[in-house]
């Protein structure tokens, strides 16, 4: 009798387990029906674009390859991006990828099709950028990625950008610099972030995000802050208000903005076009440099080795960048030389 009871109990447990597993399978089938997993997505892949070893936006040729891949993938959701060969990724390229990924999710309601990078380090970058989640070896430590971080902003949210910069981001990244210098760096960056909010997107634009990334490369004595948006770019924003400037090339349009020559006319409820100019002055005061990419334009402003002002509007690039990307390079140590530009 005891043995029979034992067997009944064992059978009952077995039957319960089988029922539970069947339920699980059924739930999984239902889940898959509405949430296609990677295996099912692969069946939809029409084409694969292999990304190069080096993902870099500043180099025109490399930017061209990356841009081509991202544009194609954005146009066609069945294209898979293959990151297996990627060995290096710059902060600017990382931000572009992040913006692409967010815009893709907004458009197709799913993550872009990626073939994961082979290198753990690149996987770590994807995790930092919150593009993908990987179970990384927690004992591995990448010194150069240590302070990589990204913050995204949305036009629909009222964030206190100056407070966020002054209390969280800048002290974390530039701990060893003096307070006055850090305040100037924060001003330069916040002014650029305000410009993104004001000028980058139309009210009816579906995607209204912009990003701030910061980090440091190995063996470099510079910090990098990078602001990136996917909006109308300098040309779109300035031409909207200054029709006569459409003849200028993209680099010279950025130059106009950087020199404060894009202030609005009397009575208009818009900025006075001084934000970028003052941001550059602030950067010069701390020995920094600013590189601006927008459309096919590339413009650089900063401080020369002799301490003078440096500004260059480069010839048009082959690659046209959607929106704008502003890179701030700030030396890890610099003694303020007083106010530059005769300020």
């Amino acid at each position: 009798m005891e043995r029979q009871a034992f067997l009944d109990k064992k059978n009952r447990k077995r039957i319960e387990r089988i029922v539970q597993e069947a339920r699980k399978r059924s739930r999984r089938r239902l889940w898959r029906k509405y949430h296609p997993d990677d295996q099912q997505k692969k069946r939809l892949i029409s084409e694969e674009i292999v990304l190069p070893q080096d993902l870099d936006i500043m180099d025109d040729d490399k930017a061209f390859e990356l841009n081509f891949a991202l544009q194609k993938a954005m146009e066609n959701s069945t294209i898979q991006l293959d990151f297996r060969n990627v060995q290096r990724i710059t902060l600017q390229a990382g931000l572009s990828l992040k913006a692409f990924s967010d815009a893709y999710i907004l458009r197709y309601h799913m993550k872009p099709l990626f073939r994961s990078p082979r290198l753990e380090k690149i996987k770590a970058v994807f995790c930092y950028l919150e593009i993908r989640e990987y179970h990384l070896n927690c004992h591995t430590h990448y010194k150069d990625l240590d302070c990589w971080h990204i913050t995204s902003f949305d036009k629909s949210k009222d964030e206190d950008i100056p407070k966020l910069l002054s209390e969280e981001i800048i002290p974390k990244c530039l701990a060893e610099r003096n307070e006055q210098e850090n305040a100037r760096i924060a001003t330069a960056i916040s002014e650029t972030l305000f410009n993104c909010r004001e000028h980058a997107y139309n009210e009816d634009s579906p995607f209204q995000k912009w990003y701030l990334g910061y980090g440091r490369y190995p063996h470099s004595d510079m910090y990098h802050f990078c602001v990136c948006d996917k909006g109308m770019g300098f040309r779109g924003s300035i031409q909207l208000r200054f029709k006569e400037k459409f003849l200028l090339d993209d680099s010279n349009i950025i130059k106009e903005a950087a020199n404060g020559r894009t202030g609005v006319r009397e009575g208009a409820e818009q900025g006075r076009g001084l934000g970028l100019k003052v941001a550059i002055q602030n950067l010069r005061n701390v020995g920094g440099m600013m590189l601006i990419l927008s459309g096919k334009g590339l413009y650089m402003a900063g401080l020369s080795e002799t301490g003078g002002s440096l500004e260059t509007a480069y010839p048009q690039r082959r690659t046209s960048l959607e929106g704008s990307l502003i890179d701030f390079s700030i030396p890890t140590s610099y003694i303020t030389r007083g106010n530059q530009d005769g300020e």
Binding site: A183, T187, S190, E191, R197, E269, N285
Partner: protein, 110 residues
């Protein structure tokens, strides 16, 4: 608050220690908000011959857009004579010069 000194570090104005964007529509603690809610009412309370002082002590972050909209904007709103007499205390010299420049440019355009 002394009548002729506007102290940014005072309790009700502490939020402006982190200067925000130009317009209210662009985010909190904007120059437009500071001008309309704080600066202009204070200027109205000042006597016509009284010289006012704006004390920026404890300000953590300056914003050129904020300063232009607050002070240049006050000139555009018809407070030019009082604004041009203002003194600025405990402020980074760079920004003090910027404010003076904004005020002068706004006065020129009037």
């Amino acid at each position: 608050m002394e009548n002729n000194v506007l102290k940014i570090a005072e309790e009700e104005m502490r939020k402006y220690l982190y200067q925000g964007p130009r317009f209210k529509s662009l985010g909190p603690n904007s120059g437009e908000e500071f001008r309309d809610d704080v600066l202009l009412p204070w200027l109205k309370r000042l006597g016509p011959d009284e010289k006012g002082t704006v004390d920026f002590a404890e300000t953590k972050m300056y914003s050129p857009s904020f300063l232009e909209e607050a002070f240049g904007g006050a000139v555009r709103k018809g407070f030019g004579p009082q604004i041009s007499k203002l003194k600025f205390e405990h402020i980074d010299g760079f920004y003090a010069k910027q404010i003076t420049q904004y005020i002068n440019e706004a006065l020129k355009k009037q």
